[in-house]
């Protein structure tokens, strides 16, 4: 029998593919990257078979290359995701996501009495653990965990 060889989500000519997103994180990734507000062509698929997760999701965005800050946002909510840069239908770069030791301006401190929730101060966290995710606020020194994480 001929092996079915068809892309579940069609290829893009130029842009970025975010692969290996856990299926339940797909819409979070779309939201934090603000993809619903851009006019570029975006295709995505979810609940695709994955050896790693059982079910994975994939997003392909035409003619968009993400900034480091955006990549860090993805790393926060889907650390196992992979980023592929596509030029002329070819993968020219592959990135595994790694969280830096410190992140700035991308997550909110969960502590309602933290200065970052009272004055226009850019948030800053050191990552004290990736699994489970634990962020220590540079200002109030309280720990924000995955359950209380809000991406700005």
């Amino acid at each position: 029998m001929e092996k079915a060889k068809q892309l579940s989500v069609s290829a893009i000519k130029n842009g970025t593919v975010i692969d290996h997103i856990p299926a339940d994180s797909l819409f979070t990734v779309i939201t934090i990257l603000g993809l619903e507000h851009i006019s570029n062509q975006i295709t995505f698929g979810t609940n695709l078979e994955s050896k790693k997760f059982g079910k994975k999701a994939i997003i392909k965005v035409s003619a968009v290359y993400f900034t480091e800050e955006e990549i860090n946002k993805i790393a926060l909510v889907a650390p196992a995701a992979r980023l592929n840069i596509i030029r002329n239908y070819e993968v020219v770069e592959k990135h595994e996501l790694t969280l830096p030791d410190e992140i700035e301006g991308i997550a909110r401190c969960f502590n309602p009495t933290c200065i970052t929730n009272h004055e226009p101060v850019k948030t800053r966290f050191s990552i004290i653990s990736q699994k489970p995710l634990r962020l220590k606020c540079h200002y109030c020194e309280k720990i924000t965990d995955e359950e209380h994480l809000t991406i700005i």
Partner: protein, 305 residues
């Protein structure tokens, strides 16, 4: 070179063990022989966005005795904050009028933020439930002065170990010494796991107890804190435990000769009044030590030693 010159003090972790010991040595020198008017011509701003009589008066006394000038406000109601001014604007303005800012604020992280926007150094005199490093330094000074060392002591911490910021900062600072901790608190106010993990990582021994009547004989330092009714979700729970965490004079009977009772004050009823007469009661001297320690901190930061 004075590594403390022009440095802000926001969290006890901002100072190295070496710097902490230098502060304690300077404070001891000031206590033994007052250094005179070394802050002459210096202006210190004390911005108390949240009232704290004790800490503010201690800072004022420290500065006045060294001949410095102090200006500021004792509560946010008498400052431009009541008109809606941002913290950043207040700090930038006040830094024009002073060589150093001492501030207390109810918002956590406010002192760190102020130290980042201010061109002059900032000393945190308490930011909400977060840090109060000058209290920690005066606690360390009191311990060293009464025990002759910070090494190898058996430290009892009693009362509210969950929310008490003085307990947390003191614990962090003492973890650099070979300390044994005994934590005595009601179940609802136990020391948070993050501090236990921290101690485990550093190989520091600690024990948790519900009561301390039987074990107090082992203590070198008993650090008492207030158990506040409003910390309990169930008022009945408070009623059940409120008397367990009270230090009474008869409990001191079998204690070590060198034991000293510390308390960050204000005390409500967690130390019986009759303990005050015991030579082992040290909380009022502890408050006096705050003046020497704050003098040492300010003089080191302003580099007038």
């Amino acid at each position: 070179m004075n590594s403390l010159a022009a440095k802000s003090l926001v969290s006890i972790n901002d100072f190295s063990t070496d710097e902490i010991e230098r502060i304690l040595d300077t404070a001891s020198r000031f206590e033994q022989s007052p250094p005179g008017k070394i802050l002459d011509s210096k202006v210190i701003a004390a911005l108390f966005f949240e009232p704290s009589t004790r800490t503010r008066l201690s800072f004022e006394s420290a500065v006045n005795r060294l001949g410095g000038r102090i200006l500021g406000f004792a509560e946010a109601g008498t400052s431009s904050v009541s008109k809606g001014e941002s913290l950043k604007d207040t700090i930038l303005t006040v830094s024009n009028y002073s060589d150093l800012i001492v501030m207390r604020h109810s918002i956590e992280g406010s002192a760190r933020y102020a130290s980042e926007v201010s061109p002059v150094p900032v000393i945190n005199a308490g930011d909400g439930s977060n840090q109060h490093p000058t209290q920690t330094l005066l606690d360390l000074y009191s311990i060293k002065k009464t025990q002759g060392t910070l090494d190898g002591l058996n430290i009892f911490m009693v009362g509210d170990l969950k929310y008490g910021r003085t307990v947390h900062s003191l614990l962090m600072a003492l973890s650099n010494y070979n300390t044994t901790f005994n934590f005595i608190s009601p179940a609802e106010l136990r020391i948070p796991d993050e501090y236990k993990l921290f101690l485990e990582k550093k190989g520091i021994k600690y024990y948790e107890h519900d009561d301390f009547t039987e074990i107090i004989s082992r203590a070198d330092i008993v650090y008492m804190t207030r158990v506040q009714r409003e910390r309990f979700s169930d008022p009945l729970e408070y009623e059940k435990v409120k008397n367990i965490y009270v230090l009474r004079k008869e409990m001191l009977g079998n204690t070590k000769e060198n034991v000293r009772i510390l308390h960050p004050l204000p005390r409500v009823n967690e130390i019986d009044r009759d303990v005050d007469d015991s030579p082992k009661a040290y909380y009022f001297e502890q408050a006096l030590n705050g003046v020497y320690v704050r003098q040492a901190i300010i003089s080191s930061i302003l580099d007038v030693l």
